[in-house]
Subunit: 110 residues, 2 copies
DNA sequence: TCCATCGTTCGAATTATTTCGAACCTTTCG
DNA sequence: CGAAAGGTTCGAAATAATTCGAACGATGGA
C-alpha cells in the first residue's frame, strides 16, 4: 500500500531563480507548467506538443520541472499528480509565475 | 569613421519568451543584466564574478544576451555600450524584467 | 603614422542537456 | 494471481552550449 516512489523536491528556501528560469526556458516545459495553472493534473492528462515522445522523455521533462521547484509530483493511485508550486514560487519570487505563465510566447525556441 | 561592427539584434516583435528566460537562466548573464538596470554601461565597466575569464568568453555571454533581445550592444568609440532593452521587454513581457531583476537569487546554479 | 586598447569571430575541445530503449516497480482490475 | 497501465531510472548516443586561444578589425592617442 505504500505508494510509488516519493521523489525529492527542493524546499522553498532552496529554490533558485536561475534554475527556475532554466526550467521554464524550454517551450515544452513551459507548456506543461501552463497546463497546471488551473489546478493539479494527473500526468496522463498532461499533453506534450508531440504526442509520440516516449514516456522516458516525458518523465525527464517532469524531472527538470520538479527538481527546479516549479512542479510538485506526488504519487496518486497508479499514476502521478502534478501541481504547480504556486505558493512557494510566489513567496520566493513574487510575480514571476504570473508574468511568465500569462505572457505571450513569441517564437518558440529554434 | 564608420564604427565597429553593427551587431544584429532581434526586433521587438521577434523577442521570444523562452529565449529570454534561457538568457537569464545563467547566473553570470543575470548578473550582467542587473548591472544595467541603472543605465547603460560600457562593456569595460561590466564586471564578471570571475575577473579572469578571457574576453572571448565575456563576448560570448554578451552575445547570448544580445541575440535573445535582453541587451543592446552598440559601438561607442573604441568600445561598446551596453544597455537593457527595457522598453521592448516591458512591452513584450510586462513585468518580467522587474520581477527577475529584483528577485533574490537563491542558490546559484550548481 | 604606429601602436595599444577594446571587442568580435572562428574553430576546436570540453562539458552539459536531451533523447530514447530497456529494465523495473507499484497499483488496479479481471 | 496474473497482466496491463502508468511512471521512474539507468546508460548510451546524439545535440547543444560553454570555454578559450588565436586571428582579425576599428578607434583613439602619442
Amino acid at each position: 500500500m505504500s505508494s510509488s516512489p516519493d521523489l525529492p523536491h527542493p524546499e522553498r528556501s532552496e529554490i533558485s531563480l536561475t534554475t527556475v528560469l532554466f526550467a521554464l526556458s524550454d517551450p515544452e516545459r513551459l507548456a506543461i507548467a501552463r497546463q497546471l495553472v488551473d489546478g493539479p493534473l494527473d500526468m496522463a492528462e498532461c499533453h506534450l506538443s508531440n504526442p509520440d515522445v516516449p514516456k522516458s522523455t516525458k518523465s525527464h521533462l517532469m524531472k527538470v520541472l520538479r527538481t527546479s521547484g516549479v512542479v510538485r509530483n506526488e504519487a496518486n493511485g497508479r499514476g502521478r499528480r502534478l501541481s504547480l508550486r504556486r505558493e512557494d514560487l510566489d513567496a520566493r519570487f513574487p510575480g514571476l509565475l504570473d508574468v511568465v505563465l500569462s505572457a505571450e510566447d513569441g517564437d518558440a525556441k529554434p
